[in-house]
């Protein structure tokens, strides 16, 4: 090797394609701490740091082999004591002898390396700032996507609510239609009720007129029977007298039925007039009892009357007597031999404004299913025990209507087989 190379201020090394070092100048051996003999023949990797060895094998050697030269390559050398020395390397490969030799000049970089370190650090900082920015951007994008999907979700929910609202509107309209229909039916029913009422009043009017028309010939029949019995038209045989008796009884029966019908009709038409006065309950009962005593005696019943004279009502006495007669007749009619009929009365213990009269019997009693219906017109308890009983079935209906017409009421209690009790309440004479 040219001795002048030893004087150069930079390192010099030459090696073959197999990497074996052929020459090293004194500048390089001195810097690395080797003797020249320790390096000649050894692979050039000997003076390279490990990272540089890979770099040499993968980059520098292929480049020099293909390109013939390389310029300003940074390499880390490794001194004998392990010190790492940064150098810039220029290399040229050219034929020499039977093969090729690569001549390599190495210039140590100290100041430049500091600048490079600063540049590298700045580059790394810029890269990590860029990465942070990217990850922040990605974060924001994710947040944005999330907001978008939430927004979409809200839109879907809103759509759902709108669907429900329109469904409710449809249902509301259906309900309105249904309601309109119900109102319409209600009005229709009201019209029908009014019409039925009018028809019923017409019927009652007809019955009132007819009853009146029927009573006139019946009275004539009764009158003429009496005249015949009195012998006005000649003497009457026993057989004729018996026949006249039967005609008379039938006439009376018919007349009673017609009177009942007439009363009901009058009440329904609203033509009943009440002549109200203060009357003692005891007197009212006393007036009626004689009318049923013959039947009580005939049936062998026990009658008990217990009405204090102090109980005073404001009523139409004739109407009250009619009610009491009806109640007592029923009690007698439906009570078997040996039974009893009890009449009690007085101030109503549950009301400051009412008095009461109760008619109880120990008769057949009324089935509970019928108890509610006995006050309806034309109702009779239909079983073998009552079939023979006479009457229109209007008595209780008329009685309740009369009681209510005076501001009172008529109610019934009964136990089948043990008897019945009818309670008539009436307005009390509070001034008394």
């Amino acid at each position: 090797m040219d001795e002048q190379l030893d004087l150069a201020p930079c390192g010099f090394v030459s090696f073959g394609d197999d990497g074996g070092m052929l020459a090293v100048n004194a500048t390089l051996t001195g810097r690395l701490g080797y003797d020249r003999d320790e390096l000649i023949g050894r692979h050039v990797e000997t003076i390279l740091a490990v990272g540089s060895r890979i770099f040499y094998q993968t980059h520098l050697f292929p480049l020099v082999r293909l390109h013939g030269k390389a310029e300003e390559i940074f390499m880390l050398l490794r001194g004998k004591d392990g010190e790492q020395i940064g150098v810039l390397c220029n290399a040229v490969r050219r034929p020499r002898g039977s093969g090729h030799v690569t001549d390599c000049v190495l210039m140590e970089v100290r100041e430049r390396r500091k600048f490079e370190d600063a540049l590298l650090q700045a580059k790394q900082e810029a890269e990590s700032a860029h990465q942070a920015l990217q990850s922040r951007t990605a974060e924001l994008e994710r947040a944005n996507r999330q907001l978008e999907s939430q927004s979409l979700e809200l839109e879907l929910q809103q759509q759902h609510l709108e669907d429900q609202a329109s469904e409710l509107t449809i249902q509301g309209e259906a309900l309105q239609t249904l309601n309109d229909e119900l109102v319409r039916r209600g009005e229709e029913l009201e019209r029908q009720r009014v019409a039925a009422n009018e028809a019923n009043q017409g019927k009652s009017m007809f019955l009132a007129v007819m009853s009146h028309e029927l009573r006139t010939p019946l009275n004539a029949i009764g009158g003429y029977v009496q005249l015949l019995e009195m012998g006005v038209h000649g003497s009457v045989t026993d057989a004729q007298r018996e026949a006249l008796g039967r005609i008379d009884r039938s006439q009376r029966h018919l007349l009673r039925l017609i009177n009942d019908l007439l009363n009901l009709s009058r009440i329904e038409v609203g033509r009943v007039h009440y002549t109200v006065e203060s009357v003692g309950l005891a007197g009212l009962v006393a007036n009626v009892m004689p009318m049923v005593e013959p039947q009580i005696a005939a049936r062998g019943l026990l009658a008990e009357i217990s009405v204090p004279p102090a109980a005073i009502a404001r009523v139409d006495p004739e109407k009250v007597e009619q009610i009491l007669l009806n109640l007592l007749s029923n009690a007698v009619k439906f009570t078997g031999a040996g039974g009893s009929v009890v009449v009690t009365g007085g101030n109503d213990p549950s009301s400051e404004t009412l008095v009461y009269i109760r008619v109880s019997d120990t008769g057949l009693g009324i089935p509970s299913a019928f108890l509610e219906r006995i006050f309806e017109p034309f109702i009779q308890v239909d079983d073998s025990a009552t079939r023979s009983s006479e009457g229109t079935g209007l008595g209780l209906a008329i009685s309740r209507d009369l009681a209510r017409g005076m501001g009172g009421d008529l109610t019934a209690e009964s136990e089948l087989g043990r008897g019945s009790a009818f309670t008539l309440t009436l307005p009390r004479d509070v001034d008394y």
Partner: protein
């Protein structure tokens, strides 16, 4: 070639800068290693082009490839590079392939062959290593700090914009004089891509893929290769079924460049033997 070419034929040819030549029919597919491009094969392909159809290419990011096709996620592992090989194989409809891979391309070739073993007849692996970092009792040759030293070295050289590492400039088809100038710039590579490739290469561990190899292989182990030490070659030979190990006289990591004659001779010898696993 007929009109019934693979739909991606033109795209892959352009993307991976594929070059085909030779008078034979059986394809020899050459895959370059980390740090260079298809130019590294120029010293040995002349010896095969009379008998075989030579197929050269550059991985995306290297040499004359289309840098715009680079996808950091895809090429973050060697699987992405294996996909490049299979893309070329599929687009060119190659079969009975003799695959020649250097350095990291050995393992990339193994990954590709494991995916489509039917396409490959033999694998010729130059300076292969399944794992560069030592992991006792496994000897890979490097500690993690060594790899970091390499990455630092690369960073520094990219700062200086040394001419050989200048990024591949776009190809300019209507200005061929520019193209010629570029082909003169061997082993050009994009600095960011090169750094990612270095990490994918030197941090990879493909030991588990070796036992699955069903294609017969030739392992060319250099003497005194500090990148792939002899223990690594022996490990590969033990693990890979149907492998033939040849330790070369050539030293260093690039015998096809430092000693093309021995490299060609060993490959021809191997190809002359029956292809059985």
């Amino acid at each position: 070639m007929t009109g019934d070419r693979h739909p991606r034929y033109a795209e892959i040819l352009r993307r991976n800068n594929v070059k085909m030549f030779g008078r034979g029919t059986q394809p020899m597919l050459f895959a370059h290693g980390f740090g260079c491009d298809q130019n590294m094969w120029r010293f040995i392909t002349p010896d095969f082009q009379d008998e075989y159809r030579i197929v050269l290419f550059d991985y995306v990011g290297a040499g004359g490839s289309d840098v715009k096709a680079y996808d950091a996620e895809r090429y973050g592992t060697l699987e992405g590079y294996a996909r490049d090989i299979l893309d070329v194989v599929e687009a060119l409809e190659l079969d009975d392939i003799i695959f020649v891979g250097h350095s990291v391309s050995s393992m990339i070739g193994v990954l590709a062959a494991n995916q489509q073993p039917g396409r490959f007849e033999r694998l010729i692996l130059i300076g292969p290593s399944p794992r560069y970092i030592n992991e006792s009792p496994y000897v890979g040759g490097f500690e993690r700090a060594d790899i970091e030293g390499l990455l630092d070295m690369m960073d520094r050289n990219f700062i200086g914009w040394a001419n050989f590492l200048a990024p591949a400039i776009m190809k300019n088809d209507d200005r061929p004089e520019l193209g010629e100038e570029l082909t003169a710039s061997f082993c050009s590579t994009d600095p960011i891509i090169a750094r990612n490739f270095a990490e994918a290469t030197f941090l990879a561990d493909n030991r588990a893929d070796l036992t699955r190899v069903s294609v017969p292989s030739l392992l060319l182990q250099c003497s005194d290769d500090m990148v792939a030490p002899q223990e690594v070659g022996e490990y590969l030979h033990r693990e890979m079924p149907g492998s033939t190990l040849r330790v070369m006289r050539a030293t260093g990591h690039c015998p096809h460049m430092s000693d093309p004659d021995e490299t060609v001779m060993l490959i021809k010898e191997y190809l002359a033997s029956p292809a059985t696993a």
